[in-house]
Amino acid sequence: MEIPYTVSARPDTGLYNARLGIWLFLASEVMLFGGLLSGYVLLRTGALQWPHGWARLSVPLATVNTIVLISSSVTMAMAVAALRRKNLARGRACVLATIGLAATFMIVKLLEYREHFGAGELPSRDNFFATYYTLTGLHAVHVAGGILVMTYLAGPGAGLWSRAPERYTHRVETAALYWYFVDLVWIVLFPVLYLS
């Protein structure tokens, strides 16, 4: 039995299976980050004193990371556009560029963590650093997950193109939606943690 709507969109929903699945997954992700953000608001508003993020964290490094992550969303959108135009070579190159930018983000993040660890600013120090490491750490785990998926898509997963190009394009589109979400989360975290 063939599973319907793996390639073509269902007429009434206008969605294929993977796209519906990723939207549901992203809804659960919104709840996960929303819950943590709510905890952050509780701790921050309830604290008698809360330090400014810009006084304890590196705003220049975070700004670089913001630019890097936004650029990676652009390259991911370019990958989807290239695959829709049936250009696999360009599509793969754009996915590889996205992986490179995501890896840059992770390296900068590790440098930032190393600086804090060196200064004895561990999560156990106070609520500020506990929430900082929890929120940015969970986000970094999502970036790492994205790198894994995109590495598969640019590497062994690209073999699907020769058999079912439309399906491969859908897979990259689905990964792109996830990647835009990861980008969006950082765009929320950056001002909340670093600029306020």
């Binding site: 007429p11 206008g14 929303g34 819950g35 709510s38 509780l42 604290a47 008698l48």
Partner: protein, 83 residues
Amino acid sequence: MIGGMRETWRRAAAAAALAAWPAAALACPVCFGGAEGPMRDGLNAGILVLLAVTAAVLAGFAAGIVTIVRRARLQAIAAQEHA
């Protein structure tokens, strides 16, 4: 025997008093009766943020369902006209 009855009545009276004036028995497990202060503000703000996130996700689901129903209706009309 009489002492036991008295004890029972005493307990029943205490329970009735608590039922009539429940605020005395229900201290908030978070602030322990300290109704004012930043902790209460923080808790309220946290609850509001979580409610806003939940409302946004549920609104997204509702909007998606309405869109699907509309599309399905249009599909059915188009199929009838085609037939």
